[in-house]
Amino acid sequence: MVDLSRIRNIGISAHIDSGKTTLTERVLFYTNRIHRISEVRGKDDVGATMDFMELEKERGITIASAATHCEWNDHHVNIIDTPGHVDFTIEVERSLRVLDGAVLVLCGVAGVQSQSMTVDRQMRRYKVPRLAFINKLDRSGANPQRVAQQLCDKLKHNAVLMQLPIGLENKHEGVIDLITMKAIHFDGDNGENVRIGEIPEDMQHEAEAARETMLDAVSLFSDDLTEAILEEKVTEELIHDAVRKGTLSQDLTPVFMGSAYKNKGVQPLLDAVTRYLPDPTEVENTGVDLSNDEAPITLSSDPNKPLVALAFKLEDGRYGQLTYLRVYQGKLARGASIVNSRTKKRHKVGRLGRMHAADMEEIEEAFAGDIVAMFGIDCASGDTFTDESIDVAMSSMHVPAPVISLSVKPVDTKSQDNMSKALGRFVREDPTFHAGVDPESAETIISGMGELHLEVYVERMKREYNVEVETGAPQVAYREAISRRAEFHTTHKKQTGGSGQFGQVSGYVEPMEEGDFEFKNEVRGGNIPTEYIPAVEKGFAQALEKGRLIGFPVTGVRVVLRDGKSHSVDSSDMAFQTAGRKAFRDVFPKAKPVVLEPVMKLEVESPNEFQGAVLKTVMQRRGTVVGTTEDDGFCRLEAEVPLSEMFGYATDLRSCTQGKAEFSMEFSRYLRVPGEVQDELKKQFGSRVVVEDDD
């Protein structure tokens, strides 16, 4: 049985291109999990071990986070490599949910970039304690002190340097450990030989000053350390304890540094991971008790308690369907019987494995705190497994609704079957990815969180399932809404020949801020018999599925039914359903309908001289600038821009800033489109609805 205090479940999370995959690769090398280092986009055609999907290798980005396991200083370390692109934040969020701690990798040159901010916000949401690693100190312009200051200013961390660099840029040789006050050099072809030596004489003074600053900050978390400082009896152990305490409470971010690419600073970072990040017992995890009205329930890392495990990621690998699980409580053993708390289906645990990127190491059992892979069990990502003794689910993860869709059409009939297989798998793997068939056009529609998100799945269909598809133009997920209260009084009457139909409804509709649809029945005196009320509601609900302005769902509508009439023979469920549908069709133009569009929060970072050009790109796209922040020659622009205007933005931004700007984008909210755009959309979708306007 594994000693839980020696398990670390960590994530390596950061901005794209800050070098986190390279860092992970070094970690695996130093922990003897791999015996050769391959670079991201390397010349050796192998690619980094964690970037195992073909596409990732080609683009040099991490898309799906692979879980891997390594050993360091007698500790089991499970590492989740997380993607850096905003379109894949669901992956990041899901990974963070199962992590106990994280390393935030920052580029020593670019510092805190917009994506670092998004990732940091997510970590804060899931209360993940973190260490920072300032990477790329070998690059020109590297300045770890400035980056640490940005951690404080931009991300509001209490960042404290635990090391100082020995030389920067092409003179970067190693680091000074401010706790031991020793210089650390990394010798050998791959930096595998750690050599501890004396601090270079010319840095002695600087190191002493930095140690004093570090002790000042760290002593806030330990009275013992404060006392020891006063009595000049500081020990390494006391400092470690204080740093750990501050890190666990997320009040302190210890900062380490180096250059993963040049094999510098990685081993001390691993020491810090095992020293300062929490073990599974030190993190409180809660689930919901399904047998007690979803009351929150605290899980304990006790292996003897009933099993609770979360499936946080699915993959179809060379070993078949593969489910990554985090065990929160109890024990998961091969051959045991487990239940999916969503479907209530029982499964028998087959093979279990510890994943090392695409390779696997088989194990017999896993305990609370472990991250493992399970084979051959059909489930969706986010499902909870228990043994049969309790009915618990892990609290739901925040899953945003898709904002963009695309029609896909296989080029031949052979591709058709494979496409269904591929889509079925992607939907199970990624809750932000949806696929379905449009009943009118009979086209297959995929939807997701951004252009690149969908592009990646189209590519994966091609590469992994050999499916060639033609894609339509990306379609923004508009919505319709009403903007004022309006009364309805509608009769549905068909009394000529055969069985008749009669239903009369009156009341009003009004806009509401929260929720999609609310139906209130205020009919008194049985003018509409109670049994027909659900039919009226159903009729309205059906009408809302497709708005009459441009054919998108109508949201934010409250319907209040106040009166009506029925007929003893001709009234029926069907008649009242039709009356509800007709009533909404009649009242919709009177309620001043509007089109809503998804608006994205855009952040663009560029050198100062391009801020005018960047601003123009936002203005041209009906964007609203929220503000600009200048800092050290760089300018960060925050804006809100309609998604429909953002297609091809990457190319435009590159061309107007000589490729020196970068942006990140995430869904912000739905907003009303301006009148002229609404008219344009109505024309485009062939709408003939005349909005009644008395203003």
Partner: protein
């Protein structure tokens, strides 16, 4: 209430009456108060008033991040919209967001020159601002040349520029020494003083008008918006 009525009835018109016409284009205004009394809120109130009258505002801050400044505007606008039952609130909110630009610069880097650069960017991408709010830069610490430069910028733009200054005495605000010698360059100087149940606003300088007693109004202590007496 419709926007045009809201404007006509804005308590800011009281301020203008009290000041014999307000700050006026091409002039510098300074609001002085102790820490935490609400200089920023007051200035945001002035800016929102300008935005509601279809003006354009540039808000430069070296003390708060963009999200913080924006939240200030949202609060002031929402308070106003709700208390006056403003029609088409969402649309007007969107409009004023588009006509307001927030620029954050690191402390210590804000000078009349950087302000000119900011205005240049505004000009390149849209219309120049009709009101500039400078937050986090103490007017009393500016040199005479700086103030002169700011005033000429206000003149060139035909805009009003509002600055702030912090004093130590909360209840009896006077023109700080650093600003006294330069006060000829400033059109209007206002003092904010916390009183019982309200914050008092009085003029310490009103252009060339020797009688500054005409302006003495109360502000809502929560929102720092002017209240009609």
């Amino acid at each position: 209430m419709k926007k045009r009525f809201l404007n006509a009835r804005s308590p800011l018109r009281l301020l203008e009456q009290g000041l014999h016409g307000g700050l006026g284009q091409g002039n510098l205004g300074v609001v002085i108060a102790a820490h935490g009394v609400g200089k920023t809120s007051f200035l945001v109130g002035v800016a929102v008033d300008e935005l509601l009258r279809d003006g354009r505002v540039l808000h430069v801050s070296c003390s708060h991040p963009v999200a913080h400044v924006r939240a200030h505007y949202d609060t002031v606008f929402e308070d106003l919209a709700q208390s006056k039952h403003l029609e088409n609130e969402g649309l007007i909110h969107g409009e004023i967001d588009r006509h307001r630009s927030i620029r954050v610069v690191p402390p210590g880097t804000l000078t009349p020159a950087t302000l000119r650069d900011a205005v240049k960017v505004e000009r390149e991408t849209g219309a120049p601002p009709s009101l500039i709010v400078v937050e986090g830069l103490d007017a009393a610490e500016l040199t005479r040349e700086d103030l002169q430069d700011l005033r000429s910028l206000a003149g060139e733009l035909e805009a009003e520029i509002w600055l702030e200054s912090t004093c130590s005495d909360e209840r009896s605000v006077s023109v700080p020494k650093g600003l006294e010698a330069q006060s000829d360059l400033v059109g209007v100087i206002l003092a904010l003083e916390p009183g019982q149940g309200a914050v008092g606003l009085r003029a310490l300088k009103d252009h060339d008008n020797p009688d500054v007693s005409a302006l003495h109004v109360s502000l809502d202590p929560r929102t720092l918006l002017l209240v009609r007496s």
